[in-house]
Symmetry: C3
Subunit: 612 residues, 3 copies
């Protein structure tokens, strides 16, 4: 089943507009709409005064017109009457300042009163909308606008409860948090404070736990809603995730939902196809299942510094790219263009006059060009973990390092050679892949270390690997658990800006980091060339296990990678997917594009997909 | 009547110093002084303990010496005893933090207690100083130091009252604010919050109203003082405005005062003559009357990153430049140089030893060189509105756009050709002008749209024109109300960094913005050249109405402008004013300067003014 | 007596580890350890529940092993139980926000409750550890992490008390603070506020007093601890100062301790030898006595953006450099490497596996190469004052000026010629020096002005000299008290970015500042060349008193300096000390280095010291 549609806000319109909207939807080929996720004050303008009739009416009309409905619960934007009555549902920032209403996400998921009100409204939604719902979305973009971490008193109390459950005793907590350092021993659970406006460096173990707790409290809050909806509906339930977002452990969250959906916006100033692809692949990898693009950027947005228009064809391209990476389809955000509100400059399928734009045609065309749901073949596995994101943020050797950006460099290299990337997590099986890459994984669980050891195809590991344990402690020897198979020990490390590396006769640039390797069986393929580190090993090989002692650019990584997997085709601006029986290419350019594959050369039309 | 003088602080000196000061004033030619605007704690060191005798004495002495007096009310700096007694008179910032005393402007104009105390001290000022006052200044630089918007509870209550008066019903407010968006419907007036530390984008309609309210509350606070003074005095009343300042609607404010005065400081790192001129012309345009420079920068100031000295002649030049743009004269800030206080490094006419500096001579000389008050002829009208400033700030397509800077580029072009600029506002008549420019005016009132339509001389309009209504809603079609006369419709728009434009065979650079024009009768004079937008129309002409679909530099605009108004002279570093009977030129350079005019060539002396 | 050792944290380890640690200490040559300065919650995990047995045991073991002990009092990190019970011991920041626990230095030294608890724990420390202590350190790095200034209510009250004691009457305070400016007259002591979140520029006189008070309150807090310890121990007492730190007046503080110690970290991205030397020389100059490096950076640290490793030999070099500048020796921070806590990435003598690193060998080697304590000969005196640091910060002509960086330029020039630098303070004798440099000293006490006048060897003075009095008032004439001996008057001044200076035929660059000099007997050696200031005098000479009217780079200053003191040797990357009988050189390079001295040329080995 494919899902093609748009996000729609009937509450922004008069009843008379709905008819015209649905008429256009049918013309364009919209089969699904998402509705309701910011409509709390529309259905409950004052406490207890409900009016669901309008939304029910529009839903009935949509269903009668053959359009399926995803209902979003409205808890991402608590109404003003609730904020007025209970100001403490508002979150508190890192400096101890209460955040205010007037936009969205102004609530703390740990607040018991907000939970009670959330339950009530979700129950009402479920009661009224279950007859119409074909899918459910819980809340909207948890953590958006830097709201994952809250520093209010309700959070502190919930965090303490979470810690009690995790550590049982203060002795254990004091030990794991290293509380002897800087006199931080806790003598009573209530002596645990959130790190608000601390003069110096925070406890890295407590901050890691605070990230974990913040993921769990959001999941807990989500599950509370899921439980209610399941009483009324057996339709699939999802939450819409975000691009380039790592404050919440999406792997953990996604175990609690029926399918992954995400909002596909361009997070960079310019559209960068591989930046978009990597997010698609991450989303598919979370459940190793097809995913839905719940919100597809329609062209111009409103929240950037410079909100550009995009050339014609771009929406068509974005939809086709999602398809290539295994999506069920896309809902364009948004169908209707409004004249007011904080997103008044956001683009849509309609224009400000309510007319169809050329983006409607692109949507229709892309829909025709994408049949069924693609299942990419398992080829290259890249280890990823949200906890590593947090560890890299919390304590650092080099603040210029960004885990995700460094992984993106590696991803680009693999993709340019034409191979699919699956992100693999701790619990995933990895034996089906032909290559395993474990980049910059500070912490590796023992179970995954065993999987690496058991993997008998090529493995590439890097600096920073396995230097920490799950409590954010440094290991005693590095890389913990992997010295034998890599044939080396790391006896010291440090940051740097740039370093030259002599690798297979090429002069390459490393960045960020430099290990001091003691060889224990590995052979040296590349060495550092700079001053104090000159001639230290940088790239090593032990059987088919490779180790690189610095942070690599795409160019650097390609030199190693091409020895292990041959390029399937040569082209620029081409995205691809390897299916079981064929390779599918997508020309990312709005121009003709020449591709060489298996000694054939052919020309692709703008945004064309072609099987090879 | 001309006004030449200085700002003077007798309370900073002993009685014995006054005699010496007045002696120097007479020598230098100072005929006016401003006094008293920071002297609250000097005349009322503890609550209710007044001592006006010293200031009365110095005022009598000044009057007896033939020097006129502008009395400033002292409310810009509440005394510590008042802050101690009523801490809630202090303003609150956007993060909800109370601002503190210890500098100035530490009060909220909506606070009722502060208003009561303001009334008392102003009444006392009026009682005691009316016999001496020849003019009054209310408070000092409203809004300076980013104090226009206050987020305290008194402000919230006053804002709600203002909203009730504006909208009457919550239905109307909810509608105009688009409160269905993000569940912001208000069910009770007291549910209206100020936008403090909101996680995401604020409601653009409420923020616009908050700007409007903040202007009104300042005017209301000012008028409260004016009403008191008028009971005692029939002398003119003013308030000193600021350069490059747009937080308060000066057009609206200036309707409430008898004359406009402003403080002429160099807001840029280096002195930029046209940046200074444009502020003069704006000040003159507010009431279409001569204005006063209430504070003239004397040379070095103390509040910049680098506080430079200026070469000799600069003060003379600045005074002559004010004269050229229609000022009544200047008061130099300040007469006396003090050794202490937050402005101890600020320059003055005297030096730290109390001696006359060369700046005194420059003042005397400039005074001799400027006779009567100049009335510039009406030539080019440029539409301007403070509400557009705010709309451009609140919601954006391109955050790099600055309304005033973009207008300055246009202004420079007009001035280089030798034409006067008047800024015209909604209510102004425009038929006397020979050219009308309406730059980047997101919102145009219907009344002004009618004026544009009725104007039968050349009109130049630009991108962004008439895309919003007065509630900050986007219009349904663009440019609203002006499609017919411009012969086009804008069906889409977006931001960009830079774009090449082919205009009359020249390769020019547009920035910030790009419209998608559908021609409806206009002819194309220039086209975009860049990739996706290639060959889209950029400059169009429909009769004598011109439209430019991007943001223009001075160079770009000159290409269009020179087709409409011929250059009166050719020179660099020359300021000018067209009077009814002659063109007056001012050489801005401290060197000889060659000017070509009407096929004559002549050389101007440093800082010379010359009639042509 | 020399002091060589390391900072040690036995509380981070199990008892069984201590034995191994001490064994390694003995091997390496560690004779001193510092212990205990963050161990409060270790010895008092809940209020009143003390357990000193573990630390006593380890101290006994260390002493029995022949290792001397420096005991640090633990007040820099109050335990959580105390914060929980009395949240108001927490400091408050400049925006009025309470700072939080979770790191260190989260206390206000003015808080009476914190003082009571500090007394109790220090008394306990003194009781238990006096038998083992060979030296005491009070607290740890006062003012670190920007904690010198606190804005809490306890501070406000203590500040008022301090002001009463200083000024006696409000009349005097109002006068000295220039409170007539901006209506700041104080009518009651309790009307004095701390400058929290003020909208505009603060009162520069009050801010100067607030700095002074903040130094005094720290000294007072320190002395409270010293008095307790002296009841139990007659061993020397110190406090560990910091590099490049000027928030606290270290000159004043150091009068209260028996010896100066400081923490020698590289404050710049790259190790800059003269930046390190100048800090050593400042530390030696505070008491004109040998000083101790209480914490020597061991290589990589954890608190920079990029935490680099250092090449081998660097620790050896740093220790030798300290020796050259008169240190008693160094304690390396830290001996033991831990796996947890906020400093888990900080380097140490041991590695994460508990093994000796090559840094241990460097330590041992450096110790062998440094015998006795060096007493540098008095050669060049540079005037310095912490109050000038503050005055330069508080009010400015040019915000780009940094007092210490400007002094460093001068220092570099002197050191390159091979001369020792002593910083001299107000009370120091200066007649023993052969050259006196008084750079950028806004404020010069009358007593020091007299010393300058009486100094009959060459004197170099600069712009900004003696323009302020001790209350931060500007003088009436400049440079106050020194016009006669310099043969000039400064009648005006201003900021600038860069200016060309023609000095002895060379084209040099001045920065930051430009004086307008009126000659009164001095002869002109150099003139400004730029536009408005062209031909103004820049470098003057009156007898052997020199004046430079702008801020100089090292290159600029060298041109003047070389006329007064001849170079002792020519080399790059060489540090030196002139002793009474010999010149000692240290090759800063890890490579061979050629030096010319007295027409001899010789080659120094990496990190070699050599007598000349």
């Amino acid at each position: 089943m494919q899902i093609y549609g748009a996000d729609y806000y009937p509450e922004h319109w008069e009843e008379k507009d709905w008819k015209e909207h649905v008429k256009i939807m049918k013309e364009v080929g919209i089969e699904w709409v998402r509705i309701g996720e910011f409509a709390w004050s529309f259905v409950e303008p004052a406490e207890g005064k409900y009016d669901f009739s309008k939304l029910e009416k529009v839903m009935k009309f949509l269903k009668d017109s053959g359009i399926k409905i995803i209902v979003g619960t409205p808890t991402a934007a608590p109404p003003n009457w609730l904020v007025k009555k209970y100001p403490h549902i508002l979150p508190v920032d890192k400096y101890g300042r209460q955040k205010g209403p007037g936009s969205r996400r102004h609530y703390c998921p740990a607040n018991e009163i907000y939970r009670e009100y959330s339950k009530k409204i979700v129950e009402k939604y479920a009661e009224h909308f279950s007859p119409y719902a074909d899918m459910w979305q819980i809340d909207n973009e948890f953590g958006c606008h830097d709201t994952t971490l809250c520093y209010c008193e309700a959070t502190r109390k919930a965090f303490i409860k979470w810690l009690k459950s995790k550590y049982n005793t203060l002795e254990e907590l004091n030990y794991r948090w290293g509380n002897k350092f800087w006199s931080q021993t806790i003598g009573d659970w209530d002596e645990i404070f959130l790190p608000i406006n601390a003069p110096a460096f925070e406890n890295p173990h407590m901050v890691l736990d605070f990230y974990r707790f913040s993921t769990d409290i959001h999941i807990d809050y989500m599950n509370m809603q899921i439980d209610i909806i399941k009483k009324y509906s057996d339709k699939p339930i999802t939450h819409n995730l975000m691009v380039d977002f790592f404050d919440i452990d999406y792997k953990k969250l996604s175990k609690n939902i029926d399918l992954v959906s995400f909002d596909n916006y361009v997070p960079t100033p310019l559209y960068d196809p591989f930046r978009q692809s990597i997010n698609h692949d991450l989303m598919r990898s979370l459940k190793k299942q097809p995913f839905l693009v719940m919100e597809q950027q329609p062209g111009r947005v409103n929240w950037k510094s410079v909100n550009e228009n995009y050339p014609e064809g771009q929406v068509r391209l974005w939809i086709k790219q999602s398809y290539l990476h295994g999506s069920l389809g896309v809902l364009v955000f948004r169908f209707d263009q409004i004249h007011w509100g904080a997103e008044q400059f956001h683009g849509a399928l309609l224009d400000y006059a309510g007319r169809k734009t050329s983006r409607c045609d692109e949507f229709s065309q892309a829909k025709l060009e994408t049949n069924d749901v693609i299942e990419p073949k398992k080829e290259v596995a890249v280890y990823f973990s949200y906890e590593n994101c947090w560890m890299h943020r919390i304590n650092h050797i080099n603040r210029n390092f960004d885990y995700w950006s460094a992984i993106l460099e590696i991803y680009r290299a693999v993709r340019k050679l034409g191979y699919n990337v699956d992100f693999v997590f701790e619990d995933d099986e990895i034996q089906s892949y032909q290559l395993l890459i474990v980049p910059y994984a500070m912490y590796l669980p023992e179970t995954f270390i065993e999987k690496i050891k058991a993997f008998n195809k090529p493995v590439i590991m890097t600096c920073m690997s396995s230097i920490k344990d799950e409590h954010n402690w440094l290991r005693k020897e590095f890389p913990h658990g992997l010295q034998d198979i890599l044939g080396l020990e790391i006896i010291d490390f440090g940051g740097l800006d740039n370093v030259n590396v002599n690798f297979l006769g090429l002069n390459l640039k490393g960045t960020v980091w430099c290990d001091k390797i003691v060889l224990k069986g590995a052979e040296v393929m590349g060495v550092f060339k700079n001053g104090p580190f000159a001639d230290w090993p940088c790239v090593t090989k032990s059987g088919n296990r490779y180790y690189v002692a610095t942070v690599m650019s795409e160019e650097f990584f390609l030199v190693l990678l091409e020895r292990l997997i041959p390029a399937k085709f040569v082209a620029s601006d081409v995205d691809s997917v390897q299916m079981s029986d064929k390779l599918l290419l997508l020309n990312l350019k709005g121009l003709k594009n020449t591709v060489w594959s298996s000694s054939k050369k052919f020309v692709m039309e703008p945004f064309e997909t072609r099987e090879v």
